[in-house]
């Protein structure tokens, strides 16, 4: 059964992966990191991505029509994608059986990265991380 480090190593195997992290979006804490971060500081990147995740998770504009209930099997917001000139940043929310606010973060180089594959794999990893 994978722990945080195995999950991050798995994410780093994706084509174009430059950095990955498991982050708590309420506090901005990096619970685990791998590879590099765009700012050169994983902790700063975690705090910044957490702010983005919090807005997506909390603002009503992004909630599905059936409401933003986080106790369902699926999180109301699944993932976030930021595309920049040279990168993709993918944030995948993680649903846990205890109260938490966690997401997986992956930084991909835009030329080598495969966004569709990354989204599918991150979703699987988010499940494996908490369900084994």
């Amino acid at each position: 059964m994978p722990g945080i480090d195995e999950c991050l190593l798995e994410a780093m195997k994706l084509p174009g992966a430059r950095g990955a992290a498991v982050v708590d979006w309420t506090s901005g804490l990096a619970l685990g990191t791998a590879g590099e971060s765009q700012s050169g500081d994983h902790e700063a990147t975690a705090a910044e991505t957490a702010e983005l995740a919090r807005i997506a998770a909390e603002y009503q504009s992004f909630a599905p029509a059936d409401g933003s209930d986080w106790s369902d099997d699926d999180t109301p917001v699944e993932d976030l994608i930021v595309s920049s000139r040279d990168s993709y940043h993918v944030l995948q929310f993680v649903r846990t059986t205890f109260d938490s606010s966690v997401f997986l973060y992956l930084w991909l180089g835009r030329t080598e990265g495969n966004l569709a594959l990354a989204r599918i794999r991150l979703r699987e990893m988010a499940r494996q991380l908490v369900l084994g």
């Binding site: 945080i4 933003s68 606010s101």
Partner: protein, 244 residues
């Protein structure tokens, strides 16, 4: 003191007024504070683990300090989930243990914790995170009386646009419960509740029920001259203007 203990790769427990940090080989492996829900509350509140399963793990593996390992090996918990929950609880309690005014620290060599090491964290990371969290709270709302005092709703009403997690906190504000009580009731890390309570305070929805009494003979303190703007004052003025 923590840096010295880290440098000498010490194992033992560091006790302060607001809780205890447990070190193994100079790294933090666990933390506990009366201000934060314990791992038992976090894991059982949402039904992730039954109280019986928790009790069994404590009895079977507690004496060998391997409760964490036991939960994973018995299939109660995947390793990843346990790491997420345990790390959250560790940083949560450490924030209170290492908080300002926590009094003198006492270190007892050789003391181990029944949980065992799940994912050890360097002392530096814990200290950095603790001060970052303190700054984060101050940026949301600069007054800290809502962190510890019983909380009361101001009567402004719970805005329908309130995020779900904040609403859950606001609904438990009854004039008696403190942020720590609400965290325990929700089975949620205490710092998460502090963040939501400060947001609710900034929005004028929740306030501390009892203002800390001011000492009658406290000397009047003149504000120090500073080039930086007084954020606290500016926010209070902004809120007062918006409330008009």
């Amino acid at each position: 003191m923590l840096h010295r203990l880290a440098a000498e790769k010490a194992t033992g427990s560091l006790m302060r007024e607001r809780g205890t940090l447990y070190l193994s080989d100079g790294q933090v492996i666990h933390a506990e504070s009366p201000d934060t829900p314990g791992l038992d509350v976090l894991l059982t509140a949402g039904g992730a683990l039954s109280p019986e399963q928790w009790g069994e793990a404590l009895t079977e593996a507690g004496p060998q300090q391997l409760v964490g390992r036991f939960l994973v090996d018995r299939g109660h918990f995947p390793e990843g989930a346990l790491e997420l929950c345990h790390l959250g609880a560790l940083y949560d309690a450490a924030f209170f243990v290492l908080g300002r005014g926590g009094g003198p620290a006492r270190f007892r060599y050789g003391v181990a914790h029944w949980m065992g090491a799940v994912r050890p964290v360097p002392v530096d990371a814990v200290q950095r995170e603790t001060s970052r969290r303190r700054e984060m709270l101050n940026e949301i709302w600069p007054e800290d009386d809502t962190d510890t005092q019983p909380l009361v709703q101001t009567g402004l009403g719970l805005d329908t646009g309130l995020p779900r997690r904040q609403r859950a906190v606001a609904e438990l504000v009854d004039g008696v419960r403190t942020a720590a009580d609400i965290s325990r009731a929700l089975g949620r890390p205490a710092f998460h509740t502090l963040v939501d309570v400060r947001r609710l305070a900034a929005a004028g929805i929740v306030t501390a029920a009892r203002r800390p009494p001011r000492a009658a003979n406290a000397p009047t303190r003149l504000p120090e001259t500073s080039a930086a703007p007084d954020v606290s004052l500016l926010r209070r003025i902004k809120n007062a203007l918006e409330a008009l």
